[in-house]
């Protein structure tokens, strides 16, 4: 079965997207570290160029098919049958765009706040961008794994070098947590490789049928990798630490892109490769998602640290995403994908905003704030947009995503739908309380006389505001990307009649 389409653009756009930031990073090496302005300008130019290039994906994507597009395939290590194989479908294309956009904003937000080792910082950022794009484009399992792990290194450095006081602990925790999960995934990849007759080609692997027991084992192996990244309850505790200690740009990328990879992994690998196991395990996943939603939400109520609160709210919001994905119906999965995008936008924006005010006050303790709305009215009004998008108010993107997910979740399991709908009450509770404590009431000493946001900062937040309302009011622009791919995916998952299964499968793997 033909599963790919020829590249509609005449040139290898995906390779260019991956290489461009790397080339930029290499170029930065040759700039003197004292010339910070040049370093920043080059990073900005590189990231903007990458973003503009990725817009081509948006405009040239064929929304009528589930086939992989913009495909590139070259031999890489023929001995192991590995290929350099890239392509995008409706599930992944939007995340590439998100990654390139968020990188631009991260460069902008780090303009003033990164004071030491500026050169290394921007090199890390660009390398990270390239790895992120690679993860979403890879169609070869080994290549995917390579990018997946490569992404850890710059992130580890971002947290560990430019982070807060407790950065080393957070960085090591982040690294080990994700590494433990990934290693299990690697085992799973190798098992698949041998079972499928020495192939790393994801598209080829998807067409095969695997015995149920093997699927089950692989499902949990993949779960280890993806659930940690999402992060699902109960493997979420690295997230608050990492977010709290990371520099603003790190938090933004972490929230906006990195933790999407877990959910993306479920969609790209767990569901289509292991349909029977996914179907059987869906109730467990739904239960974990509901726990994450409520648990994450309630914990937010007791947080005293701005970034920690938003980090825990991510746990809650990502619970919605996994709920949607494992609802295994169109609304749920599409809502889940959209919500991933939304969460990237909204939480990214919240972290950007927190970074903006942190730069002024150097405190993350909520109790130190109060009355910011009086001194920074523009900032306050942008922040309230993000707040309400996070709460899921209609006309913002959060509503569309959450509504579709809850609808899908309710369809899949009434209990899951009802319980997770209570998450929207809790969500309103902690976000509004946060907003009240920071922005309302009497102006506290620490914030008195602060200057409202600058044009550069406004430029970082404005794209997010536009996206929030765009997706909120006309989500079909984005939903239409997904329809065929999601349809195809669900056919694979709910197809049921899998081809005949090899008898001695397990012995074959273990041999």
């Amino acid at each position: 079965m033909e599963q790919t389409m020829n590249n509609a653009l005449g040139f290898p756009i995906l390779s260019m997207l991956i290489c461009w930031p790397l080339v930029g990073a290499a170029f930065l090496l040759f700039i003197s570290r004292t010339n910070e302005k040049a370093i920043k300008m080059v990073s900005l130019l590189i990231s903007v160029a990458t973003f503009l290039l990725s817009i081509l994906l948006f405009s040239h994507f064929d929304k009528s098919t589930h086939l992989m597009q913009f495909v590139e395939r070259y031999e890489w290590i023929p001995y192991l049958n590995m290929h350099y194989h890239l392509g995008l479908d409706g599930i992944s294309v939007l995340f590439v765009l998100l990654a390139t956009l968020v990188t631009v904003l991260s460069v902008l937000i780090s303009w003033e706040s990164v004071k030491m080792k500026t050169k290394e910082f921007f090199i890390c950022l660009l390398v990270l961008e390239s790895a992120m794009i690679g993860v979403f484009c890879s169609l070869d399992f080994m290549l995917f794994y390579l990018f997946w792990e490569a992404m850890l290194i710059p992130m580890y450095l971002l947290i560990g070098v430019w982070g807060g006081p407790n950065r080393v602990y957070a960085a090591v925790k982040f690294f080990l947590y994700t590494l433990v999960g990934s290693v299990l995934m690697l085992v799973g990849i190798i098992v698949l490789y041998f079972y499928a007759g020495r192939s790393f080609n994801i598209l080829e692997l998807m067409t095969k049928a695997y015995p149920y027991k093997m699927q089950l084992m692989l499902f949990w192996a993949f779960f280890a990798a993806f659930a940690v990244k999402v992060p699902m309850f109960p493997v979420h505790t690295w997230l608050p630490d990492a977010h709290t200690e990371a520099p603003t740009a790190g938090s933004v990328i972490l929230a906006a892109v990195l933790i999407k990879m877990g959910a993306y992994g479920f969609l790209r690998f767990s569901l289509p490769l292991l349909p029977d196991a996914s179907r059987e395990m869906a109730p467990v996943m739904l239960a974990l998602s509901v726990i994450a939603i409520i648990y994450g939400g309630i914990i937010c109520l007791a947080q005293t640290d701005l970034k920690r609160l938003i980090a825990y709210s991510s746990v809650s919001h990502m619970g919605f995403v996994t709920l949607g994905i494992f609802a295994l119906n169109t609304q749920g999965v599409e809502g889940g994908i959209l919500q991933m995008l939304n969460h990237g936008i909204v939480t990214g924006a919240l972290f950007l905003s927190v970074g903006i005010i942190y730069e002024r006050t150097h405190t993350r303790v909520i109790a130190d704030y109060g009355g910011v709305a009086s001194v920074m009215p523009i900032y306050a009004s942008l922040f309230i947009v993000f707040t309400f998008a996070s709460i899921g108010l209609p006309a913002t993107n959060g509503f569309v995503g959450e509504f579709l997910i809850l609808l899908g979740g309710f369809k899949a399991s009434q209990w899951a739908g009802v319980l997770s709908a209570s998450g929207i009450i809790i969500g309103a509770g902690y976000m509004l309380w946060l907003y009240q404590r920071v922005f309302f009431m009497e102006t506290s000493q620490k914030v008195a006389g602060l200057q409202d946001i600058t044009t550069r900062e406004l430029m970082t937040l404005l794209p997010m505001v536009i996206l929030i309302f765009w997706i909120g009011i006309y989500p079909n622009t984005y939903l239409s990307f997904m329809h065929p791919s999601v349809q195809h995916l669900l056919e694979r998952v709910n197809g049921g009649s899998a081809p005949a299964v090899a008898v001695n499968a397990i012995t074959q793997i273990l041999r």
Binding site: K173, V235, P377, F388, I425, F440, M441, T443, P475
Partner: protein, 644 residues
Amino acid sequence: MMTSYALIPLLPLAAFVINILLGRKLLKENAHWVSIAAVAGSWVVAVMALFDVLSGAKINYDVYTWMLSGGFKVSVGFLIDQLTVVMLIVVTTCSMLIHIYSVGYMHGDPGYYRFFSYLSLFTFSMLMLVMANNFLQLYFGWEGVGLCSYFLIGYYFDKKSASDAGKKAFIVNRFGDFGFGIGIFIIFLTFGNVYYEPVFSQAGNFANASINFLGFDVHLMTLIALLLFCGSVGKSAQMPLHVWLPDAMEGPTPVSALIHAATMVTAGVFLVARCSPIFSLSETALMVVALTGAITSLFAATIGLVQNDLKRIIAYSTVSQLGYMFLACGVGAYTAGVFHLYTHAFFKALLFLCAGSVMHAMGGELNIQKMGNLKKYMPVTYITMLIASFSISGFPFLAGFFSKDEILWMAYSGGSPVGKFVWAIGTLVAFLTAFYSFRLIFLTFHGSFRGTHDQEHHLHESPKSMTVPLMLLCVGAVAAGWVGIPALIGEQIGVHNYIAEFMKPVLGHPEGHGTHGEELGIMIFSTLVGLSGIGLAYFMYILRPELPGRIAQQFSAVHRVLFNKYYVDEFYDFIIIRPTIWIAKNVLIGVTDARIIEAIVNGVPNAIAAFSSGLRRVQTGLMQHYATIMATGILLIVAMMLLR
């Protein structure tokens, strides 16, 4: 022609966008022009829509597809029928008058542009709500008005109480919306659709269907109706979610008038009326609606008896009157409910605006015990407020009289199983309403002035921009009811019950099962009850002003419970807020996260570290120890070779 209806909500939206973007730097003190022009435009189009509907048109069209996912499709679209048109007129009229009033009231406020942009946004949301042709868009408007309410209650955000109140309103409403949302899910799963028309036309097919909901087999229509009603309870501040409305009085008074009296809080009643085809299929649901309404109205009215805060009394009166409307819907008299909604909008908005006028004069003072004899200084305010109070008390031939009488008659005769019971409560509430309304009037405008000398010096009548809307609303408070004169009287003077006939295609018109004599008896009885309430207030606050204090002392326990609003806030704080935060702090963070998950996550590396630090102790750094161990190793190797 069709597209022009889109202007009704779009004009205020445009005003909002213009004000919020340009207001701070450019428009400043002129911000109101944009908003007023927009709402006036909406009003004009709304009136045009009224004539279209009067001439028999029913407009229902989609503007664009909002969401599309698998089988789920929903659009932004407009449905304009009789019910919508009534709401349109109420909303645009009240909104316009209150915009004008605000020009005077908010004059000189630093957030002037902000206030008007919120008002425009509110008008937009409210219009989206009433004009929706599907449940999701209704929900859109529903949340939108909630958002504006949050903004406007917390308008003076530097006051902690105001920001608390805004937050409370939003979150309490979310509890209601929780049920509403699930209701929408079940509607979609049942009908495969969330548009009004197909849902209502097919509802009959499911009249006897039941559904397994969370393990219980329940009657499908009852379930849907009750879930939707959850939303209404939140938005219309019914028991047990009424707690936010009195606190909402922290907002500027025009907001209280517009949002928390005339329009937004009546959205719940609108929802029930809009979904009457569903509600009518479930006797249980109707009963719940009626009883909730009745109990809330009694409950709020009793609290209203003893409060001293001018705006809070009116707020409790609003809660009580909203209960009345639900009572009407619950006995199947949707028309009566909507009719009361319509008349109530006028006299309640008027009451609030008069209260605002009083506040304006008193320099922000709200305690009625510190007022008195204001009629001398503020004749216009006094007269308009007096008329509004007569209207709410059901004084014959004023607006409130007709709607209230209609409700009581339908409750008595409508054939609902709880009809007689709720009628009795309704009548009692009518008495209480008349009493506290006039207690307010007498304490505020009569007697002698009890405030400070400074305040007395400042007393003055409000400016024209405030009094003119008062007078206009006053006309409404008097005459709004004349479109719904019951047949009993109407036949004598040759007019019809226009509103009932008008609404019939949408809401139906249940016939009362009683004779003309009974109807007349009920009417006279409730009128007398109202008048006796006024009389009692006159007796207690004009003739024997020392009496209320004595009674309060005599029944101090009752008084305390009433004065503290039955301790409902404290109760919620005790059973919901504190435990949640306690659990968050001490269980989730303290135990689950710190002691269990983190214990495992940090425990594994810590165990490895402990093991290796034990192992580390072998490395003493002393050469002899290493050498001895090396020698032991040699010994072992030799011994192994020997003993083999």
